[in-house]
Amino acid sequence: MAETAKLLHLHARDNIAVLAQDTAAGAVAALGTAQFRIVADLSMGHKIAIHPIPAGADILKYGCPIGFAAQDIAAGEHVHLHNLTSRYTVIEDMEAAGT
């Protein structure tokens, strides 16, 4: 039986939710009537899409844009440096660059 992910949906408008605890890939998450599977091992505080987000759309957290989707994002997918781009300063993933 897959573990159930604990999600925080911070604002009604948000298209992402935040993991309230460290979560293993395969965990099942439910929000309202929507259900999806977490696709990667993720730590507390990381974001996942709660429905499909098309490339170019705003990513909303706290009901506000925190950047835009750099590519199409599926429900349950990790939303982070690889698929979310700032409208201000572009953040480089220094750990990824070093490997």
């Binding site: 604990k6 925080l8 911070l10 935040v18 993991l19 309230a20 605890q21 993720l42 730590s43 507390m44 505080g45 990381h46 974001k47 957290k61 706290y62 506000c64 844009p65 925190i66 950047g67 939303v79 982070h80 440096l81 979310l84 781009t85 700032s86 409208r87 201000y88 300063t89 953040i91 993933d93 220094m94 750990e95």
Partner: protein, 396 residues
Amino acid sequence: MKGWQRSDGRKGIRNTILVAYTVECAHHVCTKIVQDCADQDAQVIGFSGCFPSPYGQDMMAALCTHPNVGAVQLVSLGCENFRKTDLVRAIEATGRPVNLITIQDAGGTRAAIAAGNAWVRAQRKVLDALPTVPMSPSELVIGTICGGSDATSGLTGNPAAGRAFDRFVAEGATCIFEETGELIGCESVMATRAATPALKEELVSTVEKAARYYAAMGYGSFSQGNATGGLSTIEEKSLGAYAKSGDSKINGIVRPAEKPAAGGLYLLDVVPEGPPKFGFPNINDTAEIIELISCGAHAVIFVTGRGSVVGSAISPVLKVCANPQTYACMADDMDVNAGRILDGAATLDEVGDEIYQKLIALGAGGTTASEDLGHQEFVLTYKNTTRPEPGCHTAA
């Protein structure tokens, strides 16, 4: 709640005696006076620099006449540039007892300590005999800051602090949030909450000024640790900090040492004017806490994820711990465990209410963890806050 009535109409929730140096050379004498008066609620503050500083002068005047302060023992070396007579007059004008000891005239270190010790003890007796008056939450000024932040700060502690702020603002109290450098990316969102169209523009330009200043300082405000913790963009990080401000309309912008005109929500602009001159706007959390207090804050909400331990001179600092693991490790230093929200053991509203109640309790005999542990941190550096006044240039 009960408070001490001050002559300017404000009320204090503490009745502290400040022992204040007007140059670093007098710092040791102040420390010794306070050490010798351990049971007298005396605290050390001061301005270290010997070179003139309008900002340092304004800050010292605002702090020495803060509603939580009952009396001031000033200690000068004697040859510094600080305008100590102006400060004495500013304190006297509020009706507060003030005493100036100049070490070079008093006969040196030992004599200055003895004189200061005697004055503080005599004043404590006078202050303890003063009656308190009823005080309502609407008379409070509350500041908020976050430091030692992690991924949890913007999820639990900051939004919970925002709920407490909304409640205080609704009741007519004054709330101040800060760090324009950590609001980069939410200026347009913040501007929608401006009370007037003029303020809307000012909020945006204040954050733009911060962005220019920090860029000139070479300050990178986004770390690898932020990304590891799940933050992806500067907007996201800023919004987490911005959540401390709650959801009320924003009534104005204040500068260090400036008192908000009326109740409501205010942004404290901590970033200096002009090109960088004296370094970073605020070198640590304490410098920001002191600036919030200089605007009249009776108490400061400090949201921390990784675990800060600081308190402050003059006003109590209420520690809200956003991370449940940090709380388990450092419970003695914390007043509120907002990490319960992540465990599902409490809601944002419940923690917001706990913050509100604990702040009210500070005016009814309650103390904070940092007060109980003896934390009285204080930092005051050089800064240029003189705004260029458009249209005031004299023709040659």
